[in-house]
Symmetry: C4
């Protein structure tokens, strides 16, 4: 593969990201795993080094938890279902939350929800909020 994407070692993106809307629907309809209600953090690491990512989960009625540690390998994307995070603790269903993400190298973060509580699924997706300032 030729071109600029192959020569960059510093990556493309930001190091600090946030999503204010988080909510894993409490039930599902349709075949699993595709149609199971879920939320996903999609990471893109275009750099030539692995990205060490820490995710912090914020709640409305208790202290935040984390870090959830995730490695996004060099030149890879990783679509991490939040449903499947286990350490330090799973993220509860049917509970409002938000997340703050930091990476030691620039990455791109997008957030998606598939809500299959009703017979037909509904989807949302948005590029996460990003800023150089912290």
């Amino acid at each position: 593969m030729e071109g600029v994407a192959m020569n960059r070692t510093q990556g493309f993106g930001h190091r600090y990201w946030a999503i204010a809307e988080g909510f894993i629907p409490g039930w599902s309809s349709g075949p699993k795993p595709q149609m199971e209600s879920h939320e996903t953090l999609c990471f893109l690491n275009t750099s030539d080094i692995d990205a060490n990512v820490s995710v912090y989960i914020y709640y409305s009625e208790r202290e935040p938890s984390g870090p959830y540690r995730i490695t996004v390998p060099a030149r890879r994307t990783l679509h991490q279902r939040i449903n499947e995070l286990k350490y330090p603790q799973p993220v509860p269903r049917s509970t409002d939350y938000a997340c703050f993400i930091e990476s030691d190298t620039p990455i791109v973060v997008q957030h998606t929800r598939l809500d299959s509580r009703q017979a037909e699924n509904a989807l949302i997706s948005t590029i996460a909020y990003h800023s150089e300032q912290i």
Copy 2:
């Protein structure tokens, strides 16, 4: 909880935000409160101080109303249904509106609508517009 998220006192985000698309659907189908048609402002305050937030609602045919005063506690997320705002006045259903948001400390704002006017719900969500300039 270790890490950078715990040491920041200044918060992460912007102080001024806006959403141009606002519309609370006038009816719903499915079980309440989960499937009631609604719009939500999702706030994330990663700082160690409470955020004092003022929301102003703009209409197409009359003067704006506000401020609606909301406190987002330190290290918390708050998902505020616009349907439930009461003072200085409720936001009418089936009416075009928009909102401008200011906070005394940096926060992140995301806007979501669940439209259950038909049997199956539809969802939209987007990080709000933000700028340092005012």
Copy 3:
């Protein structure tokens, strides 16, 4: 109404905006006008002067058309259905398009589509792309 929103005369936002995804579905199901397939440009003008907005429509197979001239009054939101633009010419259905928007004062622009080609509607919405550079 008190507060900063009332004292600003310069507005909040950007003057140049764009949406790359435009497509008015060619048919609808459900009651009109609410459930008619449509696309909407949502404008927010928080300033104390009217915003004079020009919209240009870009196509894939012919020259762009415009300007479509729209006034967003001071301290108002305007949700303009693209379906209802008439001069210099209506925007055709079932046709890929995009739009570029300029305003003589800062505004906020968001784009929404309701697609009711099937029995249950689908929604998308996103803050438009904005830049100070032109």
Copy 4:
């Protein structure tokens, strides 16, 4: 057509873009081609010169592929279905991916998915992540 949009030769937008969430649903329901599950990259080139665009596809379990070369003509929009990319190789269905996009002139990029795996379609769309830094 009068106005600023006609006089700009440098275009409006950014040269580097990314989408972290990519997934072409593996099946469809409803009439083709409109209701076939697909993902689309929507490009807007407001400049007076053609934009030469290179798209790179990143995967979770193998090296990235590309460039996929696309020309967006001057003063045109192009809505490119990712399903239809063929060279250097098609993008597999039901597979997580992400994309990085570079253009030799500023453009605007938006990403949309129509998921018709169930009887009623679901839509997502977002302006892609953009940065001047690379």
